[in-house]
Amino acid sequence: MKGKVWKYGDNINTDVLFPGKYTYTLMSPEEMAKHALEDLDPDFASQVKPGDVIVAGRNFGCGSSREQAAACLKAAGVQAVVARSFARIYYRNAINLGLPVIQCPEAVDVLEKGDEIEVDLAAGEIRSSKGNFSFPPFPDSVIGILKAGGLIAYTREKLKEKGVL
């Protein structure tokens, strides 16, 4: 799936990704998506299209462990987040909720807002109007979690395959 790049800087924290004041009031993914990044980029939520990709600097997702900070981007249709680095808890939360997070500083160096981009998870490649960049492909288990749409669904599938469920 092709999309456009949204470019941001370093230390994009969980408060600007999804404000704390909404964490116990907005529960549906659609509602969460409407407030994604609103304190950083008021245009994002209204203009983001399915397949778009966030490209950012260091320590993306630092701060709180709130899972909504990843859930709101996924609900907004974001295909993946590409960054120089991710805060540890965000990285896990994102994958466990089915949002691909890719560490690829080379792509961050070059890509700018509005560039056309496509992420091929199986091949470990980012293809863009500015060139192609490779990243170490995810192992099958992580691909499985992403394809299922998150860890709980993946776990359910896996247990069904094993005949446990």
Partner: protein, 417 residues
């Protein structure tokens, strides 16, 4: 190229050599959770499974709000007790036990070479015994209960080589605060942190646990000391199962190595509102505060109570402040009781609370009013954590806390010992 302790532990788990940055799927040795088990139980039930995969690996300690402060908390505890019964989970510790990280260690689950995960960020504490211990989320914990598996990225490692001898009145809390202040709150993000050097080996087990506990505050995935004789002695008569001691290879790859000479280290204080906002105590001396909290999973052990007793014995704390003492566990509480230490602290004007987490996270007892300031031996000073959003927290060692409690303002403890 040799391997670090973390690379080795994960290699043994998957049965092949792995190195930093690979992602592996592994089965942990133990899975810790606390009062948040009620939320995890709900997610576990959403998966649809009737039975947890490995009940003997699950360790649950009720500690965050104990005894229950409200009907809602009481219901949470009830749901957990019923689940423990229904699933036949053997390792359950009710409200009398203490803070999960202290209880887990004292009960001999934290062992060299083990892979331990816990739905609490300070699970890193167990690295004091040479385990690889990692904090995770609730969703993941529910999934591990169901599958006995977790995916992990093999971390790079940062090594802190500590040399020299700490001055009297300077504690391992001061060391870890200084390191966090230097590398920053993201300084070890997603990485393992190894504490080594002659000064590390000379630290007591209590002191080591302070540092691995707070490795989480520099973003670390896990932090550890390599097991030595002191560690093995401590584990004698405690270890719940057989274990294998694992060390980093001499030619292991470290992403960075920092050397510190501790001989000249002053007591340190983390100022509001972030743990990496660290200053020498002399720079913040004179700061007024209203409540002193001695305890928590960071500094509620015997060594911490002992130094406070040395400073406060036969004296009274300032009338301007109130002081809470929160021993980390039943074992610590009982020993302090037998040694007469709790009486000394109570006489000095402190309130002795039952072991638990409550005040540290503003969940139970000792809540701060707007405009109030706390001096605490805990590990986090985020805005509003201990109560009102308009309150503030300074973090320091038990020595700094006790001396400051006498004066009703922050002071350098070195002249009080």
């Amino acid at each position: 190229m040799g391997q670090t302790l973390s690379e080795k532990i994960l290699s043994r788990k998957v049965g092949r050599q792995v190195k930093a940055n690979e992602v592996v799927t592994v089965s942990p040795d133990y899975i810790l959770s606390h009062d948040n088990s009620a939320a995890i139980i709900q997610e576990f039930k959403e998966i649809g499974l009737k039975k947890v995969a490995a009940p003997e690996k699950i360790v649950i300690v009720l500690d965050h709000v104990v005894p229950a402060a409200s009907e809602k908390h009481a219901l949470n505890h009830k749901i957990i007790r019923e689940f423990v019964e229904e699933q036949k989970i053997p390792h359950f510790f009710d409200i009398d036990a203490g803070v999960c990280h202290q209880v887990f260690s004292e009960q001999g689950f934290a062992l060299p070479g083990l892979l331990i995960v816990g739905s609490d960020s300070h699970t890193t504490t167990y690295g004091a015994f040479g385990a690889m211990a990692i904090g995770i989320g609730r969703t993941e914990t529910a999934s591990i209960w169901a599958t006995d598996e977790i995916w992990l990225r093999v971390p790079e490692t940062i090594k802190f080589v500590l040399k020299g001898k700490l001055q009297l009145g300077v504690m391992s809390k001061d060391v870890i605060l200084r390191l966090i202040g230097d590398v920053g709150a993201e300084g070890a993000n997603y990485k393992a942190v190894e504490f080594s050097g002659e000064a590390s080996s000379s630290l007591s087990i209590d002191s080591r646990m302070v540092m691995t506990n707070m490795a989480a505050e520099m973003g670390a995935k896990n932090g550890y000391f390599e097991p030595d004789d002191l560690c093995l002695d401590w584990l004698k008569n405690r270890a719940k199962k057989e274990f294998e001691i694992i060390h980093s290879d001499p030619d292991a790859h470290y992403e960075a190595i920092y050397e510190y000479d501790l001989s000249n280290l002053e007591p340190q204080v983390a100022c509001p509102h972030s743990v990496d906002n660290v200053k020498p105590v002399t720079e913040v001396a004179g700061t007024i505060f209203h409540q002193a909290l001695l305890g928590t999973c960071t500094n509620g052990r015997l060594e911490d109570l002992e130094i406070a007793v040395k400073i406060l014995e036969g004296k009274k704390i300032s009338r301007r402040i109130r002081m809470l003492v929160l021993p980390a566990s039943k074992e610590v509480y009982l020993e302090a009781l037998k040694r007469g230490w709790l009486a000394i602290l109570y006489e000095a004007g402190a309130v002795i609370l039952n072991p638990g987490c409550g005040p540290c996270l503003g969940a139970h007892m000792g809540i701060l009013a707007p405009g109030e300031v706390a001096l605490s031996t805990a590990n986090r000073n985020f805005k509003g954590r201990m109560g009102s959003r308009d309150s503030a927290i300074y973090l320091a060692s038990p020595a700094t806390l006790a001396a400051s409690a006498l004066e009703g303002k922050i002071v350098d403890p070195r002249s009080y010992l």
